[in-house]
């Protein structure tokens, strides 16, 4: 095995040169056992790439098993091709997966395989045409080592290679094809050449060709070749994935670039494959649904829980709508004043050690014994200081609300906009997820941990509806003027009127609400998913709450979410913006 590894390592520079003399990738990780392969996440195939750390992984024992030991340059150049050509980066891989999924309704699990096979075709055709590599012999060797008879889809795939490289029918080991399957192989070959430069545009068409075959076959024959199905393992989530890319999925038979305009003119133009996510009540052509966003991340090989994916989804969606969050101006800022030294102990941050003072104490340093750190006091400053107001967020996740982890919730998105805007200016946030009586989750008071707060925002309990008046009471009952001002934001629907109910101590709900608003001093907003806003606003609860000082915004779609963000910013900023409020405070 060591000899083989040495031989393959020697072929690495030649394989790199197939793409460019300037290609720089680290030498592959060479594995020899099932245990090592499992640790790397390599199962089924003899090679794998990961885009997160730009590595190629080769399993030498499987290389021997398939009789591929003489094709080092071919296989290594192929793996490098995934890094430098298709997919190249995680963002393109994500778009490719999304398009393949749209072409494979209910067969989404096959999307990573379809994308991998398509990319293999592009890479291999390039390596054969431009560098005359013996990729056909690799496939022949695989056919010899395979114990299973060639499936229909595998045979179509091999036939496409035969057409591309001018090989005789069946020479790569595929079975005899029907007329329509031969047509599909012709289409695949043509597609690969047509979309060689802008490969992403052909991925949907390729998946469309595979669709009828995958309905009846699972495609296990491809397992040894699937080297790019988990390329995002351990990587960062690519940006922009929460947006639909808007690419049209056309079967190559209806694609003028593939079949030529003269041939297509004879047939009726076919419609685009309807996509599940755009038909599910979401915003067509704008946002992907959270469930699909997570499925694409999974297909990239990323292991995220539904909640973690939802956090990333809403954060990405919210970032382009951030608003100026209100801040207060305090009369004077404080400035740090050095006040000698304090002992530095082992648990303190290393960077806070004052080394000069420590050496003066003892030339010989004993950490925790002779180390000291600078002690700082404060003195009055000359400039007024801006201090953000905090945010107290209540998120309704009763059964009447959609699960934000599955479907885009514009209420949750609006909440994310306000939360991220608040955190951006240094505010602390307390978030409470509530449903029925006694069903709630909360952050540990007012915190600045973005993930903890967004985790509550996108949470879902799906029970009854009972506003948690007791938390409102506990939060504001003992608050004093020296505490920071707080803006209260409640995300709910018609169930908001359960705020009227008394708490467990018998206090009237609206009294608690009034007390909380007064003690918070930063105002209150109810962001409600109301489809009959006029009716709701005409009811006693809404009138009473408005008189009390609550701002009520109905949000049901993307446009109303943007309108809310704009209006929230205008109201809060115009009346409590930094300069104006500062001037008021000084007067």
């Amino acid at each position: 095995m060591t000899d083989l590894q040495e031989k393959w390592a020697q072929a690495w520079p030649q394989a790199l040169a197939c793409w460019s003399r300037y290609t720089q990738l680290r030498e592959p990780r060479w594995l020899s056992t099932t245990k090592e392969a499992a640790a790397e996440g390599l199962t089924g195939s003899f090679a794998m790439i990961t885009l997160s750390d730009h590595r190629v992984v080769i399993r030498l024992d499987e290389v021997l098993k398939h009789g591929l030991q003489d094709y080092a340059v071919e296989i290594l150049a192929h793996e490098i091709g995934h890094h430098v050509y298709a997919p190249g980066d995680l963002g393109e891989q994500a778009v490719a997966l999304a398009r393949a999924r749209r072409a494979l309704p209910t067969l989404n699990r096959h999307a990573p395989m379809a994308v991998n096979l398509y990319q293999d075709l592009l890479i291999n055709d390039r390596l054969v045409r431009f560098y005359d590599l013996r990729i056909d012999k690799v496939y022949r060797a695989l056919a010899v080592s395979s114990t299973e008879p060639a499936s229909q889809v595998w045979s179509v795939y091999l036939r496409a290679y035969e057409i591309l490289w001018g090989l005789a029918k069946g020479s790569l080991g595929g079975a005899k094809l029907s007329g329509s399957a031969e047509g599909d192989a012709q289409l695949i070959a043509r597609l690969v050449r047509v979309y060689a430069k802008d490969w992403l545009d052909g991925v949907g068409g390729f998946a469309s060709i595979l669709f009828p075959y995958l309905q009846s076959e699972e495609g296990e024959a491809f397992a040894p070749l699937l080297d790019a199905t988990s390329v995002g393992r351990g990587g960062d989530v690519p940006a922009g994935l929460s947006e639909e890319d808007g690419g049209v999925i056309l079967h190559p038979l209806h694609d003028p670039r593939v079949v030529g305009s003269s041939a297509t003119a004879e047939t009726e133009p076919a419609g685009e494959v309807p996509s599940a996510e755009t038909s599910a009540g979401g915003a067509k052509g704008q946002c992907r649904q959270p469930f699909e966003y997570r499925q694409i991340l999974e297909a990239l090989g990323m292991k995220l829980t539904e909640k973690e994916a939802a956090i990333k989804y809403y954060k990405e969606q919210a970032l382009s709508h951030l608003i100026p969050f209100p801040t207060r101006v305090t009369p004077q800022s404080t400035e740090p004043l050095a006040e000698g030294t304090d002992p530095w102990d082992i648990g303190s941050p290393l960077e806070s050690v004052d080394w000069l003072e420590s050496v003066l104490v003892s030339p010989r340093i004993f950490p925790g014994m002779t180390t000291v750190q600078r002690a700082w006091g404060v003195m009055s400053g000359h400039q007024p200081k801006r201090e953000p107001i905090d945010l107290d967020l209540y998120v309704d996740c009763s059964g009447s609300m959609p699960n934000p982890q599955r479907q885009l919730s514009h209420i949750a998105l609006a909440g994310a906009v306000v939360v991220l805007s608040a955190l951006r200016v240094g505010a602390r946030v307390q978030a409470t997820l509530w449903s029925g009586a006694g069903q709630f989750q909360s952050t540990r008071g007012f915190v600045r941990d973005e993930n903890e707060i967004l985790g509550v925002l996108v949470g879902y309990l799906g029970g009854g509806t009972a506003f948690p008046n007791h938390i409102l009471r506990q939060t504001y009952n003992e608050r004093t003027d020296s505490d920071r001002e707080v803006h209260i934001l409640i995300l709910s629907d018609e169930g908001m009127d359960t705020m009227r109910s008394a708490d467990e101590l018998g206090n009237a709900g609206m009294s608690i609400s009034k007390m909380a608003l007064e003690q918070a001093r930063g105002g209150g907003t109810m962001l409600l998913r109301l489809y009959h806003a006029e009716h709701f606003m005409g009811q006693d609860f809404a009138k009473h709450a408005t008189l009390m000082g609550w701002n009520i915004f109905p949000v049901v779609d993307f446009a109303s979410m943007v309108a809310f963000a704009r209006e929230f910013a205008r109201q809060r900023y115009a009346t409590e913006g930094p300069q104006k409020s500062g001037a008021k405070a000084r007067r």
Partner: protein, 205 residues
């Protein structure tokens, strides 16, 4: 005995460099157009050692009527491209008898051999697409019973079969029928998946 012709690479390169005169419109009965196809073909046949067109042969390389312009235009334009292909010096080798034979075959090919291709591929596409250029080059070699330089007879036949627009159209017609059935299923499943997605968004795990 296998007779070698020019290599496919040489011929496709030659086609890619087709001069603009061969791309001009064939002269129509109305007098519009820039090139007399029959004159071009006659010149070619003379160059190959054959005889100029005459009588009924001339009619094959002209529009048959004003009404037929739309139908016959692509065929005549392909004849011009075919004439340019055979103007490659590689076709003008051999002794007088061989060249005469070539001229007969070229005449036959230009008169009728290009008709199936003309029904499927537009002349502009034929020049702009490397696969189609290769197809025309191989069709030309095959018409003259020549094997491309650097290839075996079987390999050349395989390659021509793989590139053949006529063969491709046959299998694509079958694929179209299968795709129509698959698309119906695909659309039905997409709607089903959409309905499930909408329903699932209200349920917790």
């Amino acid at each position: 005995m296998t007779v070698r012709g020019p290599s496919v690479r040489e011929l496709t390169h030659h086609l890619a460099e087709c001069p603009s005169i061969f791309l001009e419109e064939p002269v129509q009965p109305s007098g519009q157009g820039g090139v007399y196809v029959h004159a071009v073909v006659s010149d070619l046949l003379l160059d190959l050692g054959g005889e100029a067109l005459s009588g009924q042969d001339l009619a094959r390389f002209r529009y048959s009527s004003r009404e037929a312009v739309r139908e016959e235009r692509n065929r005549l334009r392909l004849v011009l491209l075919g004439a340019w292909l055979f103007s490659h010096s590689g076709f003008q080798r051999g002794d007088e008898r061989e060249r005469l034979l070539s001229a007969d075959k070229v005449h036959g090919f230009l008169a009728t051999g290009l008709n199936p291709l003309a029904r499927l591929v537009a002349a502009d596409e034929l020049l702009g697409d490397p696969d189609r250029r290769e197809e025309l080059a191989r069709l030309g070699l095959d018409a003259l019973d020549l094997v491309p330089h650097g290839e075996g007879e079987k390999e050349a036949k395989n390659r021509l079969a793989a590139l053949s627009s006529v063969e491709r159209e046959k299998v694509l017609a079958q694929a179209r029928a299968a795709e129509a059935r698959a698309r119906a299923v695909q659309e039905q499943l997409a709607r089903k998946q959409a309905a499930q997605a909408a329903a699932n968004s209200y349920y917790n795990e």
